[in-house]
Amino acid sequence: MNLTRSKSSTKAVSVGMLFLLMLTFIPVIAEAITCEEALWNCLNDPVNGILMGGAVYCFNGYVFCKKYIEKDTAR
């Protein structure tokens, strides 16, 4: 009985640690998706997709997004 309780509490601690780790990374993932989705849309726009100049235009916006739109989140 005590052994089962010990295992359960260890499991709970492990799940808790995993949950905390996930919480740490959620803001980073969310921020990255925002800029990357914009880049994806830009590069897949037929006008920008044809010429390499279009890629430069898209990357220019992507760099601005990565520099400007990110939040005060830890790594």
Binding site: K7, F59, Y62, K67
Partner: protein, 319 residues
Amino acid sequence: MSKRIVIFHVLILSFLLGAWDLFPKTEPQIKIRLSEVLSIGSLEDDTLFQWVGVVVDEESNIYVSDTMDYTIKKFDASGKLIAIKGRRGQGPGEFLSPRSLAQSNKRVYVIDENIPGIQVFDDQLNFLNRLSIIQSIADIEVVSPDRIYAASLSYDKQGVIICLDLKGGLIREIEFGDRKKEMLKNFVNFEIGSDNCFYLVYNFDDKIEKFDPSGALLWSTELFKKIKSKKEKIRNITYFTNIVYKDIALDSSDRVYVLGGDFSDNKGKDVYVIDPDGSHIATFTLPESSHCIYIDHQDYLYCRANEGVTLKKFKIIEE
């Protein structure tokens, strides 16, 4: 089952220790703190909406590009708005996405992310002319009345800083990057020192470099060890998801100030100070995340607050 849990904990511990290894290792030799001396714009007023570029002239007037209302604005040294110019459009004195600014000899130079060329204004923000340049420009510096330096952003002109005359004519090119690498690897911000040397930070590479006026590499350094920016692909085009360095600034002693990105302890807030020989001598943290840093001729530091609604000016204090 208990073995699995032990292995799980060991893996987590290894991961955390591994992550610790990513932090800058060099010990700073001096301590720097900031003391706020001026704040322009707030959440309660409409002075600034989303400022991007900043430059300060010899009389401490502050010029700002405000991308949200398509304008450039001039403030005096006390922070009072004294001139405003611009509206949405592509004509003379109009903007779509005004970005970096430069100034020299009572001229203000503005680049727009979505309009090729450089617009030139006088110090009262009256439009003078537009320098025609085909390629986009990431960053601009004007160190003398007849020399405009710009980091080029075109597919066939990657890894190049172009030097232009006052009419936009090409004088020479300074090569810095590797054209064989992915396009984003050649995105840089740069500054020109009092010795006319070029100082570069790469946005998606852990590289800070100094070139002499002729374009020869003097030193190259990195602040983070073993980092690897995550690489993704859209169609056949590679891009990176982690920005390493956001901006660079120089003080009057040619000390290099580098604003860290995703690999910093406090991303967008940690500023690394490097001496002109390439040694990391200090690290300090901005109160809020910023997309850029700027240092004026009196060594005051400017950065962002309130996500672009506020411009802050700080005195740099060495302890």
